[in-house]
Amino acid sequence: MKELKILAVVVFFTLLTYWGVEPYAHSVMHPHIESKGFKYDDLKPLAKKGDAAKGAETFMNAGCIGCHGVKSQGMPAPMDPNAAAASFGVNPPDLSDAGAVYDAKFLADLIANPEHALMVEHKFSKAGRSFPMTAFYGLGGDKDQEIADIVAYLQSIAPKAEKVTPKMAYEAACGRCHAMHYDKWTQIGERPTFKYKIDELKFEEKVLDYQDKLTKYLGKLPPDLSMYIRSRGEHYINTFMEDPQALLPGTAMPRVGVSKESAEKVLEYLTEVGDRKHAERDSVGKIVMIYMFIFAFLAYLWKQSIWKELH
């Protein structure tokens, strides 16, 4: 009985210290921000119902493919990543998966007013720079309808949501700015295996050149995300993806506008790469715990058998 009282005192002071240096201190250092579920309430819902067939036409006439590729529809990017970055600062995304990865409201707002949707006005129009993507001013008809059509078109050509792999979501939403070197991903694509050193160096040069352009464009090279699942944790990454300005005011990182499902896939990818052994950790943990309980039980019996002669 006395031992239990002593144990209670030890446990109490241990937990008090733990509470102070972990949950409490972290709540002071990192104010908690709740995710709003990727609803993008600040953006207007689509007023019109889009028509994918018309959207295809509008998409071509609006000149989107002047900068964007749509590989799945046989439209390659007009420039390679390095040339594109030289012109725009960053490589404009291929739109094959856009309809599946991004939220529809976000896409509509992005087409009409890119800086607003991306929340980067503080880095461009308000800082006296022009944003590389021009807003869509309409083709003369009902602009809202035209935008709805383009969105419908992008959704119609995109793979079904369940076909979007975690890696695809990452590449579309994050991969042009963030490398992931634990999965051989660079900002200009997957790092191939090379037979000759010179080819490797040529590729390396392209990567460095792209990174330099990107650094100029954003002010700082965006970090490699290989270990972000451990360094930032799921909650931070999730809320940061949804609204970077809320957690890091003034950051050059745009709001990426992913749908809730795509955000989950991005997180899944980050976990696969940065915390690959999490499932094994769980299963090994259970076995070790069972072993330890048996060990403790046997140790207790041993102790009892010896101490019954001593008391």
Binding site: V21, M29, R230, S231
Partner: protein, 404 residues
């Protein structure tokens, strides 16, 4: 040459050459421990086991770790954590054990303070224990540098800066310690050497000394009672086990130790698999970057109390206070003027002193982590001042203590 008979068993063969039976008797079976103890007396064994875990997991990690500023981070976070089979397990075990070992050290220390186990012949037990505490601190700090993450780098920067000793501005000394103007390759290499060789060597030697210091004064007991160990041992050996006030180390004491160790390991492995962030700071999963200072820099939790004694004061007084905090625990056996060896609960004012010190150090620990702003700075300053006052007051509090 000595005369040897043919041995009839391996044990006998070894006994002829190593006297293992005598060794076992002297070191284990007739090493007498008081019976009147509680589970806090098992903390020494828990520490020995945890140190063993650290050594074994450390050896596995050492097989793959690269002490190179360009490779260190990836060798830990990719090679060990992802490529090597169960490398993640060894790393989690090593990191969590390094943190939990300090929890047990603190429990062990406060047990010693509470029961007065540093007096009347037990001074060297306390002093060798404090030397172990300091060596473990150096071991923990040097190990923290090795993953070469943001916290490694910036903690290395901040702590080595302390050696400029404030207004003395001994920047040359700081550079000498680092081997460079800022933490770099030379820095990583020497801390690697300290962590995997010199400090473990010192720790192992000190553990031997710590055990040695226990031999003559014997382990204290729950009432601080002076026991005639020879007399009691005779009782035990004559079969009056229930009456004797002493027990054998092996198997009596050990059987209880092992049960406590088992309970501890359940807690430990729970932390290893499901609750490790407290010991593996997320910020250290960002690679070291000399151009990007983290928003909050703080040491691991076990250094926070002394960090907070440094921080709230101006530069020079802060360093003096910090130095004071590092050495003052060593002097405990001499600052406590009372001849009583008894639990604090029976020692009047000393009991108050004990609990105030404990709570004060917890307050310091929490404030040491919080950013030094507003109310936290004030509380930190008060708690740090209280810490110093407590130690200065100790001789006066204990001088006129009534004998119990």
């Amino acid at each position: 040459m000595a005369h040897f008979e043919k041995a009839h068993s391996l044990e006998e063969w070894l006994d002829q050459r190593l006297a293992i039976k005598t060794l076992r008797r002297v070191l284990a079976e007739e090493y007498w421990i008081p019976k009147n103890i509680n589970f806090l007396w098992a903390m020494g064994m828990v520490l020995a086991v945890t140190f063993g875990i650290l050594v074994v997991s450390g050896i596995f990690l050492l097989c793959y770790y690269q002490p190179n500023v360009n490779l260190a981070f990836d060798s830990v976070n990719y090679t060990i954590m992802q490529e090597v089979e169960f490398g993640w397990l060894w790393r989690h075990v090593h990191a969590v054990a390094a943190s939990v070992v300090f929890l047990i050290i603190y429990i062990h220390m406060f047990t010693g303070i509470y029961y007065g186990s540093y007096k009347k012949g037990r001074e060297l037990i306390w002093i060798s224990g404090m030397l172990l505490f300091v060596s473990f601190s150096a071991e923990a700090f040097s190990g923290y540098m090795l993953p070469w993450g943001q916290m490694s780098y910036w903690a290395g920067m901040v702590i080595t800066n302390l050696f400029s000793l404030g207004s003395l501005e001994l920047n040359g000394l700081v550079e000498w310690i680092r081997g460079d103007y800022v933490p770099g390759q030379a820095f990583l290499n020497r801390f690697f050497m300290l962590h995997v060789f010199l400090m473990p060597l010192i720790i192992m030697a000190l553990i031997g000394l710590h055990f040695g210091t226990l031999r003559i004064p014997h382990v204290n007991n729950q009432d601080g009672e002076e026991i005639d160990f020879e007399e009691e041992a005779k009782k035990y050996l004559s079969g009056k086990k229930k009456e004797a006030k002493v027990i054998r180390f092996q198997p009596d004491f050990l059987s209880k130790d092992m049960f406590v160790v088992a309970v501890f390991l359940i807690f430990f492995f729970y932390l290893v698999f499901w609750h490790y962030d407290f010991a593996m700071d997320p910020i250290n999963f960002d690679p070291a970057d000399g151009l990007k200072t983290p928003t909050h820099i703080y040491p691991e939790w076990y250094f926070l109390w002394s960090y907070e004694i440094l921080r709230p004061f101006p530069k020079d007084p802060g360093l003096i206070a910090f130095g004071f905090a590092q050495v003052i625990f060593f002097l405990l056996p001499f600052l406590d003027r009372s001849p009583n060896v008894a639990p604090a609960s029976r020692r009047g004012k000393f009991a108050v002193w004990f609990w105030v010190l404990l709570v004060d150090m917890i307050v310091l620990t929490v404030m040491g982590k919080l950013p030094p702003m507003g109310i936290y700075s004030t509380i930190g300053l008060l708690a740090a001042s209280l810490f110093i006052i407590l130690w200065i007051a100790l001789p006066f509090i204990t001088k006129n203590e009534k004998a119990v």
